[in-house]
Amino acid sequence: MLPFILRRILIAIPTLLLVSVFVFMLQKLLPGDPVLVLAGEERDPEVLAYLRAQYRLDDPLIVQYLNWLGNVLRGDLGMSLRTRQPVTALIAEKLPVTFQLAVMAMLFAIVIGIPMGILSAVKKGTWLDYIANIIALSGLSIPNFWLGILLILLVSVNLGWLPASGYEPFWSDPVRSLQTMIMPAFVLGTALAATLMRHTRSSMLGVLQSDYVRTARAKGLRERVVVMKHAFRNGVLPIVTLSALLFGELLAGAVLTEQIFSIPGFGKLIVDAVFNRDYAVVQGVVLCTAVAFIAMNLLADVLYALLNPRMRMTS
């Protein structure tokens, strides 16, 4: 197992390098001069030239990239052009926020999506199956921003049950933290729950038709035991991998959800950074997201190997 993990980590290094080159170049292709944004209404040529020199924006692209890369290797992701805060500090501040949101969204998705998928597979062709499918389709189709605003109006404005937006760190006030996160996590988790439901359903349908399930039934086992002990344990394998991969995607999905609910996480950070041409922040956040994505992929592989003895043998 260890050589397998090490090999995957080694493969991740060129991937991260490629991601960083790609993001760096893509940013430079964006129209919009960061110095003009930074200067605001000040157009004193001396000030503009100073800002350009200070952030080394006049250097050739390759020099700018190598400078950045050298600093990254020393653990320095640079300074936000907009707020003068170190990017590492910004990431350290925002990452737990988005992580909490993503974990809660994932919990929502798992708690709703997997049981619905199992139920839908077991009761295939019944009204329960149809209802589960309609719910899944709705979860995939309803845009996050619409659902978010609707929930805010209903739950916060009309019912007054939960705060409309904002964020409280979990360790400073756990109850308030959960209150502020319930709606965003639900919104972020709906599409995911639908995806999990659909995959669980198709995976379970395949397993339920296999010979060993038929044998289990023929042995006279109760249907509940057949489904949960024999069918689900095999059917859940692809779902575990998928969940880990979807967790990475949650980071991307959080962009919109964080905007709607004013959650100061990665999503808000990168949106503001892109609009302000805050290159260092964009690069830092994308690099960090890429690392998270690769880590989740690795985790998916490890989990798959742990759950599936055949994979362990191969690796």
């Binding site: 001069d33 605001g40 200070q54 907009r82 707020t83 709607i260």
Partner: protein, 501 residues
Amino acid sequence: MTTRTLLAALLASAALAGPAMATDLRIGLQEDPDVLDTDQARTFVGRIVFEQLCDKLVNITPDLDFVPELATGWSWSDDGLHLTMTLRDDAVFHDGTPFDAAAVVANIERSKTLPESRRKSELASVESVAATGDHEVVFTLSAPDATLLAQLSDRAGMMLSPTAAAELGLDLATDPVCSGPYRFGSRVQQDRIVLERFADHYDADSYHFERLIFLPIPDTTVRLANLRAGDLDMLERLAPSDVAQVEADAGLQFASAVSLGYQGITVNLANGARSETPFGQDPRVRQAFSLAIDRDIINQVVFEGVFLPGNQHVPSTSPWYDDRHPVPGRDIAAARALLDAAGVDRLAVEIQMANNPVQTQLMQVIQAMVAEAGFDVSLRATEFASMLQAQTAGDYQGSQVGWSGRTDPDGNLHAFVTCDGGLNDSRFCDADVDRLLDEARTLPDAAARRDVYARANDILMEELPIIYLYHQTWLWALRDGITGFTPYPDGMIRLAGVRME
């Protein structure tokens, strides 16, 4: 704990526990401010925070008169080259440093010499500043500058603790130390800025909140939902489409003030090859364009009637508005006649605007209106930073853009229409306008200045380097029970005397 119990506990605590204390004021902002260093700051929203954090030498009234703040009085020398200011002797910075003449000298020098300073243009006329007593300073100018008081009533006049500035340098941006009624508490980027009441402020009794919590919530619907749900006490920049809803809500109140700024279409007159169209070269074509627009209809259709139609750099509510040039009505026949005189049958014009729904709707209405006169407008929706660069580089024919406005009319005009103006992206250049606007800066007498501006305005109305469209109205929504709030045309929130019942 069962799920049901947990949910019940959460809901019960939601009903019981408010996040803010009774003496907190939670203010919803449209954006997250940038750096909290008055010399480096550049955003409008940042000024709202500075207003509570940093006292200025001079303040304004809602009628735009200048009143003392840290300066107790001022006088000009006869030649207009020296401004003498007497200063408060009871003000102190948040770190205990006394406010005095030396502090003013240090601040003005920092604004003028700090390489990162965005205040250099604003203080360009100040040659030097000297302490002539413990609480008296004299500004020496390179040329008379009637706009200086206005500059000192904004960020250029905000005083930072010289001790903190020397110690922290540029890091002052993350831990600002001023002398305002509230001191910096904490900041979580994009989440909140917390200010705490400064008990040693000379006018502390006028400020009734223990803490101010600024919460950036960009979405206008969500911002209002927060106010209605009781998670905010007030918000700035309410959407015009939400005004009726706020007015109908018994739990909310509404305040407004016509802004000092404007929105218009900047036309590329001489900024590169894209200026070489009849739209950029022939003033009659621009006049025709302006005449084809019905500004009242725009205000009704796009802004629910809450903004103010406009045709000048200042709104008609301003004492600097030139009444001889009222907002023109729509006149398609006159527009058509002007185009005929210019030898134009139909003209294709590309106009860029910010890619948000309101500006897009505005330009679509204008597109339909001017089509009747003979303009085939194509619209280029552009993200703001790109739009700014295209404008500076001359890669545009027309650009729908605005300006938040300044107390002194010079701030809305000089940089935009003088030949070397830093914000003159149309590259309009007229020697008479330059001379008149430079002269206006030297005249301390308001009536004489108004006369000079009127003469410049005659030329600008003819040339139309900027086709002014409307003036935004600052809209605030507040919880019922907040008293003493006065709307100001600069869009700032001033909290002296404001209470929550």
